[in-house]
């Protein structure tokens, strides 16, 4: 599996295609970074001057830290709920209720098919009673549904790559109860899936605007809502906030990857060996 493909020099055509792809992906990010520190950038190829005023203004806005905190809380809560709802469900479907898998696979496509606006308005209509109505609780539930396919697919693919039923039985025959089976055998082996699912959910919820705007509105302002407000006022500050948003997403990703480095390494090796 590892290093079995002989490395040969890429052709100029391959380099060109990869180059175009990288350029396409990175250009908007670079532009955003430059724009966030530019003074004026509409008459020249490169900005006329540079300053950190955009960042200063963004961080001095009283809403800056509130919305940042709200978004972090929302993202972390979504990840946690998703972990507790999706992971055990997928596990049981894989181990005990295999016949339910096609249905679950189908259900997990739905969030992609339903536009956020429709989902938000439907939820607001249906859960139109206190204390749920227009609450951050309802928003969390909505973001969990919205990002469920990310967690489901990651965990499900990982489960399919490991022979969970046999590992479960092997652990049981050695005297492990359900807790030990899950904690010592199953979770370590599907950890890469759980991790990538969590990252996807976190990043998606952190940048989510539609659901937050329509379900809670000004009552629980999130970071993307503040960002959208600024795009109407001052592009430089909005760009600065976008950069902060990217950076947070990256830091969180790196933190999670770093914190679980050993687990990933081992699991990847074991899956790679199959």
């Amino acid at each position: 599996m590892m290093g079995s493909l002989k490395k040969s020099k890429p052709s100029s055509g391959q380099i060109f295609i990869v180059g175009i792809f990288i350029f396409y992906m990175i250009l908007p990010i670079i532009a955003t970074y430059i724009f966030s520190i530019a003074t004026r950038w509409d008459r020249t190829i490169l900005p006329e001057g540079y300053s950190l005023e955009g960042y200063m203004e963004a961080t001095t806005n009283p809403y800056f830290f509130i919305t940042l905190k709200n978004s972090l809380v929302l993202s972390v809560a979504s990840v946690l709920v998703s972990l507790f709802v999706v992971v055990p469900t997928v596990y049981w479907v894989h181990v005990k209720l295999h016949s339910a898998k096609p249905l679950l696979d189908l259900l997990m496509i739905l969030p992609f098919g339903i536009p956020g606006v429709v989902l938000a308005l439907a939820l607001v209509q249906v859960y139109n009673f206190q204390p749920i109505s227009r609450s951050p609780l309802l928003l969390t539930a909505a973001t969990v549904v919205f990002t469920m396919p990310f967690m489901y697919r990651s965990v499900s693919n990982n489960l399919a790559a490991v022979d969970i039923p046999t590992l479960t039985e092997a652990a049981q025959s050695l005297g492990a109860n359900t807790f030990n089976v899950l904690w010592r055998v199953i979770i370590p082996n599907i950890f890469p899936g759980i991790l990538s699912g969590s990252l996807l959910v976190f990043a998606t919820v952190f940048a989510e605007f539609t659901l937050a705007r329509l379900i809670v509105g000004a009552g629980f302002k999130t970071f993307p809502m503040l960002l959208v407000e600024y795009t109407r006022k001052d592009g430089t500050i909005a760009a600065g906030m976008s950069v902060i948003s990217f950076t947070i997403a990256w830091i969180v990703s790196l933190l999670i990857l770093w914190a679980s480095g050993k687990g990933i390494k081992v699991s990847r090796e074991s899956i790679g060996a199959r």
């Binding site: 590992l167 092997a170 049981q172 025959s173 050695l174 005297g175 055998v185 074991s270």
Partner: protein, 354 residues
Amino acid sequence: MMTYLELTDISKNFGNVVAVKDFNLSIKKGQLVSFLGPSGCGKTTTLRMIGGFEIPDSGTILLADEDISKIPPNRRGIGMVFQSYALFPNMTILENVMFGLKMQHKPKKEMTSIAEKVLDLVRLQNTAKRYPHQLSGGQQQRIALARALAIQPRVLLLDEPLSALDAEVRVALRGEIRRIQSDLGITTVYVTHDQEEALSISDMVVVMNNGLVEQIGTPQEIYRKPDTRFVATFIGTANEFHGIVTDSENVKAGNLVIKTSGLHNFSIGSEVVALVRPENVEVFDQKPTDSMVNVVEGDVDTITFHGAITRLGINAGGKMITADVTITGRNILSYHQHVWLSFNPEYCKVMAEK
């Protein structure tokens, strides 16, 4: 010796499919018993019921006089080895082997000493720090065996443990399993579809087909005195002569008259099949003396060299007969050679056609 593991009237259905029906078996302490049969015969289901991974619909399983039929697998103290090894990929070999001991909350020192002992038993002491994927299939299965042995199980279950391995490793490892099993005197149930495997390592073989027990006996009994036609044809190879009983010692099969000694249970005119093992067919390159019975003429059609023996396919007037011979310099046979076959009436086993 007293019965240690006893299965009484065990039945199990999956929906409308009968997996196991009226299974009865007593195993003495320290015995190695094989469940042998084609896939879908119920052997693995029965094993899994002993292990606690399936609950029987009816019947009881007694282990050392305790009814374990409904005890969950993690409280049975029964070790199991799986076809796919099922080592925990996230743990080192040592952690794998110590897993069961950890579940028993054994002190660290004791765990290490037991782990060393069982790794020594399977001759893989130097792999302790490695991960399962760094080992070959045969090594992984030996670790799986060591892991199951570490908990000092009351019974050891092996579910087709060698099926995923190549021929050479299979033969070596089955010998090793038998050695360890008899050294430790551990009561073992071994599931396989490979008759050679079952015959070579077992104290007792249970031949199963379609959820039913066909025969229980020592490997010799199963091979030499099959109770049913299924056993006779599933274990080893047998030439079949379909015919009708004509008198107290003869069966007429087509234009052959076969003399046999096993007809006292059959009435004249009943339809039977006479079975003769290839190794019991003698081959002559000249017409034998008239005192010989069951002499058949034919031409050599196929010659397959198997090392110690050579298997001949002989066309006897349209009927193909298989004979195993040891070819020495004296009797070299060639294709289309005309030969005479003969078999002793004692080696001709007769069974009812239906």
